[in-house]
């Protein structure tokens, strides 16, 4: 079947098998390998992307659901529009050492940005609860939480976005 959607701000039209997961579409067909696959049970959050602004698990989303929607992946993030800068949330992860192996990071960053869009000032407890669907096997979460709080502040202060 044919689907048309917006991928990282660019319109795309593709022929897909309905039984295609969005993770598979991104990684195997479109060479966007920033979106990771960390589990088979929809629990780890390494695959989180934004579908019409909502954080969703692309490993548990069928390609036909993209029809007419806007999809943003980790590759679609940027600082100032058109620049090569990191998005403020990515920059905060770098500054606060919010990653070790980095496998969980794309999903963490995408979930964190959705959280920051929903609420301008986040408490530590809200950040921890908001990241319940993102598992990290390395960091122990401390620095991720620090990064998300700083990134949220930077997003709302500096006024830049996706």
């Amino acid at each position: 079947m044919q689907i048309s959607f917006t991928l990282n701000a660019k319109p795309v039209t593709l022929d897909v098998e309905p039984a295609t997961l969005v993770t598979e579409l991104l990684r195997e067909h479109l060479n966007l390998t920033g979106t990771h696959i960390g589990c088979d049970t929809s629990q780890c959050g390494a695959c989180v992307v934004h579908l019409d602004g909502l954080a969703v698990k692309s490993c548990t989303l069928l390609a036909p659901a993209l029809q007419g929607k806007s999809l943003v992946t980790i590759e679609g993030l940027q600082g100032a529009p058109g620049s090569n800068q990191l998005h403020p949330m990515q920059e905060a992860f770098r500054q606060h050492h919010g990653l070790q192996c980095g496998f969980c990071t794309p999903g963490m960053v995408m979930s964190a940005i959705a959280l920051a869009h929903a609420k301008a000032a986040l408490t530590e407890a809200e950040v921890r609860r908001g990241l319940e669907g993102n598992i990290c096997r390395c960091t122990g979460y401390q620095n991720i939480v620090l990064a998300v709080m700083a990134g949220t502040a930077a997003m709302h202060g500096a006024g830049s976005g996706e």
Partner: protein, 267 residues
């Protein structure tokens, strides 16, 4: 995942006839249960009928002391609905503790109720509030809907369109969650209504059930102390890696007391 045909009907009768024409087809809602099942090849339907394009089965409305929630309303939408938060705050609170944010952005009330996972949250709210399940064919009282362990009264080509919740005087939900999935090890929904008290338990057994003994005690005195001494029989309750039957029986009383305390706080 095996291949399947995909349909996205835009009217309920069309969805029902698509399901009827192809016996090996299944409705698709948020996909948060169905897609993992397809990935693990625990199910291999010939066709999926995506309910996302159907009009009028999404959103929350009220009238006559009843809150109606469309089947395709997501957990996140119920959790943040000003209407549900003001009329039945315990139901919004229940929706807010399902899974994680990404699960709540896609998963729907209709999918959860149709699936009837023995550890799911919504069945406790639906039975506890004495809700009515509205389908493409009829209306079914919660009492006659849940048959235990993923079984419901739904026919294969029947679609849930909405759930109607009578507004209680007060209500509360408390769950002891499994740390990895956040499903209920035990969850208890307590509702005080004009006609009595209802206590519904999820997670503890093969399906959601009521506890008449607690309902009688709470009807006399709606207070956590009224049920503190009530012990649930562990016979027939679930034992698994999360908890054995004896511990689950103990948790029913603890969670019921917390749910009553929440109901009193929110009243």
């Amino acid at each position: 995942m095996r291949s399947f045909a995909y349909h996205q009907p835009n009217a309920i009768p069309e969805a029902v006839s698509l399901l009827a024409e192809q016996p090996e087809s299944r409705p698709l809602a948020g996909g948060m249960t169905l897609i993992p099942t397809l990935k693990q090849r625990l199910a291999a339907p010939a066709a999926l009928v995506d309910l996302a394009g159907l009009p009028d089965i999404k959103g929350c409305s009220n009238g006559n002391a009843v809150v109606t929630i469309g089947a395709m309303t997501t957990h996140a939408e119920v959790a943040s609905s000003p209407l549900v938060k003001s009329q039945i705050p315990a139901l919004a609170a229940l929706a807010s503790v399902i899974g994680d944010p990404a699960v709540r952005d896609r998963g729907t009330i209709g999918g959860s109720v149709a699936n009837n996972d023995p550890a799911a949250d919504y069945p406790a709210g639906v039975l506890g509030l004495g809700a009515t399940i509205v389908t493409s064919a009829r209306e079914i009282a919660a009492e006659n809907f849940f048959f235990g362990l993923f079984e419901t009264a739904l026919k294969p080509n029947e679609i849930i369109t909405a759930i109607r919740f009578p507004v209680p005087l007060s209500a509360g939900y408390a769950k002891f969650k499994a740390p990895a999935s956040r499903y209920a090890v035990v969850g208890v929904f307590v509702a005080k209504t004009a006609t009595g008290v209802r206590v519904a338990v999820t997670g503890a057994g093969s399906g959601v059930f009521r506890v008449p003994q607690m309902e009688r005690a709470l009807a006399e005195a709606f207070d956590p102390t009224a049920i503190a001494a009530i012990k649930i029989d562990a016979e027939g309750l679930t034992s698994d890696i999360h908890a054995d039957a004896g511990y689950r029986a103990h948790l029913v009383t603890v969670m019921a007391k917390r749910a009553v305390a929440t109901a009193l706080g929110a009243a």
